[in-house]
Symmetry: C2
Subunit: 243 residues, 2 copies
């Protein structure tokens, strides 16, 4: 069949993965971003992007996403949820993005289809070093500015996916909490994810009804206010309750 | 930057869309498949694949999926839900698939990342003509055999997505029913989607509690058995109930 092979003027299709890593510090919901420096029209610019990268030729999509995160954050075991592919031509409408990428990969870029992933992590786990030339940081989601490519859209969609995911699987958000947490932390997390206040009493009542959120005989340590009771999420009981 | 551009031995990345179009005829859940004929080792073979195709260079992913379906089925307005990207190297492990595709597009193929979509349709709407060289047909889901590429995996995942989608949005499955339907049809649909029998009385009770499933003063026509009452789904009432 090789004698029939002809060269057609196809676009140079690059395929990348981008990861929306979301963390919660007890007060704010934040996203992990990579600082980016570029040059356009002789001017240096600084902005941010989601952690991501092109896939290697012999690499599966999920593996590529795991590699990107491992290289950037050192996190080795992480649950990544693939949630959407982005392939609009408008992804590369900002020439700064195209030039930056072409400079980085030393290749001409027509279209980049990116496969987007979500990970929820405990902020404490995701220790940030400098990783090569990349500087990464946690940015509270409501303070995120204009990101590279269509990363603001990807981030917005990711939050929507987290909401939906938490609705079908109530255990999902517990990935964001430390092993022991207060009801205030849990309530604050719900308020941040859903973007609306939760009534204190109703929330406490709702949690009390959940067999799998266990009140411990322990209280917070080293806090200025009155130490609150600690709770833990019991995954085994949760699974049993859902059967 | 063009003087820096170098050619790297990258894989030839093709990007395609594949559509899992699901229909229900009142008894069975079926999927729309395209018949495929190929030749391998001097032997002609026939099998089937999901409707799909490579994206054009100036085409967004969603547009490509809509075009593929329009070209194959004539369906112009259809709700397509993008649900997953498939990019495993194993997608092209069967050389029959690679050779068939290389023959069809007259290009060398390394990797094809495909973006998969779901559409639920009323079978009556999707009138099947022959469309060019492609012959398409409805195949009951439990009679689907070995498909091309990883299309069996994509189909299996799609059914799972339909189940989850129906859980978060109970209106979803009504897209599969005709405007007027019987409770038996609705119950059969649930049984097919979830793969388990529904208790007749409990199901009727459950449906009676739904404000948005309206009993009509009409009955089935031209049936051999006792004509059953017809119902309709009221989207406005559904939206109001969900607020």
């Amino acid at each position: 069949m090789s004698e029939k092979t002809i060269t057609m003027p196809l676009a140079v299709n690059h395929i990348s993965v981008d990861c929306v890593v979301i963390g919660f510090d007890g007060e704010k919901l934040s996203v992990l971003l990579v600082k980016r420096m570029g040059e356009e029209d002789g001017q240096v610019f600084h902005d941010m992007k989601l952690p991501g990268g092109l896939i290697y030729t012999d690499e599966n999509l999920d593996d590529a996403a795991r590699r990107v995160l491992r290289e950037l954050t050192g996190i080795k075991t992480i649950d990544l949820l693939q949630f959407k592919a982005y392939g609009s031509k408008d992804r590369t409408k900002d020439k700064r993005d195209v030039h930056w990428l072409e400079h980085a990969i030393q290749m001409h870029v027509d279209r980049i289809v990116t496969i987007a992933y979500i990970a929820l992590v405990r902020i404490s786990r995701a220790l940030l070093g400098t990783s090569g030339d990349n500087e990464i940081c946690w940015v509270p989601i409501d303070e995120v500015r204009q990101l590279a490519f269509d990363h603001n859209i990807i981030l917005r969609d990711a939050i929507e996916v987290v909401r939906r995911q938490a609705q079908t699987d109530p255990s999902y958000l517990f990935n964001l909490l430390p092993p022991k947490f207060t009801i205030l932390q849990l309530r604050t997390l719900y308020e941040r994810v859903y973007g609306k206040r939760q009534d204190v009493r109703n929330f406490q009542k709702k949690i009390n009804q959940l067999d799998y959120v266990i009140a411990l005989d322990e209280r917070e340590q080293g806090v200025a206010h009155r130490a609150a009771r600690l709770y833990r999420f019991d995954r085994k009981l949760f699974k049993r309750a859902r059967r």
